[in-house]
Amino acid sequence: MINREEFRSIAHNGIWKQNTSLIQILGLCPLLAVTTNMVNGVMLSLATIIVMALSNVAVASLRNFIPHEIRIPVFILIVAALVTVVDLLFNANLHELYLVLGIFIPLIVTNCIVLARVEAFAAKNPPLHATFDGIFMGIGMLWTLAVLGGLREFIGGGTLFSGIDLVFPGLSPLQLLPADYPGLLLAILPPGAFILLGCMIAWKNWVEARAAQRQPRPPIEPLAADGTN
């Protein structure tokens, strides 16, 4: 089982401390390609959460049978097989959702974050912990991509939630800036994604630096009590 402390630490790591996009800077290829709007970013993250939770639980359950020397090929085998199975099952059983999420699922294969979590966490931890790690790493990715996608479409075209009608047919995108806003193409093209991601990383570092300044950590206890050090 999992205790509260462990759960909190896994959640905090995934959402903030080890955020996949802002700290580990992993899986940038699909990240930059799909975050032209917020809905795309959220959808890719949802698909990633599913795959990451599944592959983490699979690897964590099998971790005692996988020899250390060949762990990478076995992990790749497991991840690739699971992504393909998820893709097939989605397509066959949840076709409406597949039409929305479907194009993102193959992209996950190219996302090294899945393999990274399998290698760094699932291979060393019990299945329940690994499942939560997959989910929270995905949630960390979700909010980052949502913010990045939202910024890109807002700066690029003055809209928010464009494409939401593809997911929830009654809803329509918000036009936040006047319709004659000329748009800033740079934000929608890949360089804009890099620039905005850079800004987000800088913002996170700034927040952490400020937090560290405000609440100085308790002084480290001296190593030796007799003061000889």
């Binding site: 996988i66 097989a81 199975v85 099952l89 076709h95 193409l185």
Partner: protein
């Protein structure tokens, strides 16, 4: 002395390494078998559903360019193979679907490719009525700039009442001249959105060439195979 020690050590280690190799290979093999089995199982299990939805998808697309009420045959079964043609922009044979009402030909639904889009090929599905007029055009695949050139897709077009792609409806090869088939900026009759003219130019050219192809091959296209 040291070399002798090393030799005896390596002699001892060698069989261990070989067995290790065989063992890891065997384990890898077992994993491969299990996961290939899982994949094949998932594939076979989902295959009927996938085929059904692929056919449904195709029908949905065809319904967008040709109203369901216009014909009464199963056009997915009434097909003709079109060889690769520069007029269609295709580099391999494609399948065209023939819509009929009773015995009369109604329309031909086929694929065409605009090869000179802003970012690669733009794939189109076009329905041309038996009298040569265009019943409908839709973009099925493209890589044009999101938010700029993608208004060729009705879903992304801001003009929801009269999406850009519907401008072709009703035009025919015989009733127009090449000069009309340009964006208004170039002296033609088609609208475009400022900032993205390469995309509409490519689509207009591809549609024009495709109607020419149909006009030239009309009789063979509807002949029974």
């Amino acid at each position: 002395m040291t070399t002798g020690a090393a030799k005896s050590a390596s002699k001892k280690r060698e069989p261990t390494a070989a067995t290790m190799a065989v063992r890891t290979a065997a384990i890898l093999f077992v994993f491969v078998i299990i996961f290939t089995g899982l994949l094949s199982g998932a594939y076979l299990w989902t295959k009927p559903a996938l085929e059904a939805s692929a056919a449904e998808e195709k029908m949905k697309l065809i319904n967008e360019v040709l109203p369901r009420s216009a014909y009464d045959n199963n056009l997915l079964k009434d097909t003709v193979t079109l060889p690769a043609s520069p007029l269609l922009g295709t580099d391999e044979a494609t399948t065209a679907y023939r819509a009929r009402k009773g015995a009369d030909p109604v329309a031909l639904v086929f694929e065409a490719v605009a090869t000179d889009g802003y970012a690669g090929k733009i794939r189109l599905i076009i329905a041309v009525n038996a009298d040569g007029t265009i019943a409908g055009v839709r973009v099925t695949q493209h890589k044009e700039t999101p938010g700029l050139g993608d208004y060729i897709e009705p879903k992304k077009d801001k003009n929801k009442e009269r999406p850009w792609i519907t401008q072709f409806n009703g035009h025919s090869y015989a009733s127009t001249v090449d000069k009309d088939w340009r964006v208004k900026k170039d002296g033609g009759r088609f609208d475009f959105i400022a900032g993205a003219t390469v995309t509409p130019r490519a689509v207009i050219k591809a549609v024009r060439k495709a109607t020419k192809y149909v006009a030239e091959n009309q009789t063979q296209l509807y002949a029974s195979q």
